[in-house]
């Protein structure tokens, strides 16, 4: 079942301007893989060459940071929403 993936402004150029897109999968990893299949330009912005999430990217499964839910192995259901947000940091 597809889940909604909400994207920050800076990534929307890769989805034709859409703020929310659908992607399939039962884990966060599968959803991201499907998201990248549908929108290839997102690939290098979401994942490292090793397949991990870029450290400058936050991913939330509903209200929870996936870091606390098993990261890419976190289970995703049809009513869930993934929200991607860039890390905001500096000094």
């Amino acid at each position: 079942m597809p889940v909604d993936v909400r994207l920050p402004t800076v990534l929307r150029a890769a989805t034709g301007g859409q703020a929310t897109v659908a992607a399939d999968g039962e884990t966060v990893a599968e959803v991201l893989d499907d998201l990248i299949r549908r929108h290839p330009q997102l690939g290098e912005q979401l994942l490292t060459a090793e397949g991990g999430v870029h450290r400058h990217l936050n991913i939330f499964l509903n209200d929870d940071d996936i870091r606390y839910l098993g990261r890419l192995d976190a289970k995703v259901g049809s009513d869930d929403t993934l929200t991607l947000m860039p890390a905001v940091a500096g000094g």
Binding site: H56, A87, V88
Partner: protein, 135 residues
Amino acid sequence: MLVLPDAVHAQMVAHCLDGYPLEACGLLGGHPGPTEARAVACYPAANAAGSARVYEVEPRDLLGADRAAEAAGIELIGVFHSHTHTDAYPSPTDVAQAPDPGWHYVVVSLRDNVPVARSFRIADGKIEEEQVVLQ
């Protein structure tokens, strides 16, 4: 140009002062524009780094700000953070980690007796200061 209502400016500076001696940070919500943006909301956030030299907006605060902005019919247009002992000017770290070239980056210096807030656009590693208009 960044238009800051007095209340938003005051809330932003107060949060920076509250965070001292550590760097404080938060988001600005409002209406973007090609030449003029208007901030209408300040979303104070925790500094997840807990440092006097660097900041990272606590991810859950970032999510909360994004949702609050969406519910209010506005969007996140920028971020503010404090410099506890240096100028109100983006550091190399600020430039390297600027997440969105469309955002406004406000730096609040607490070095002197009176806080100083300046705003910048940061894109492709380049810094461009913009006028801040208090209303």
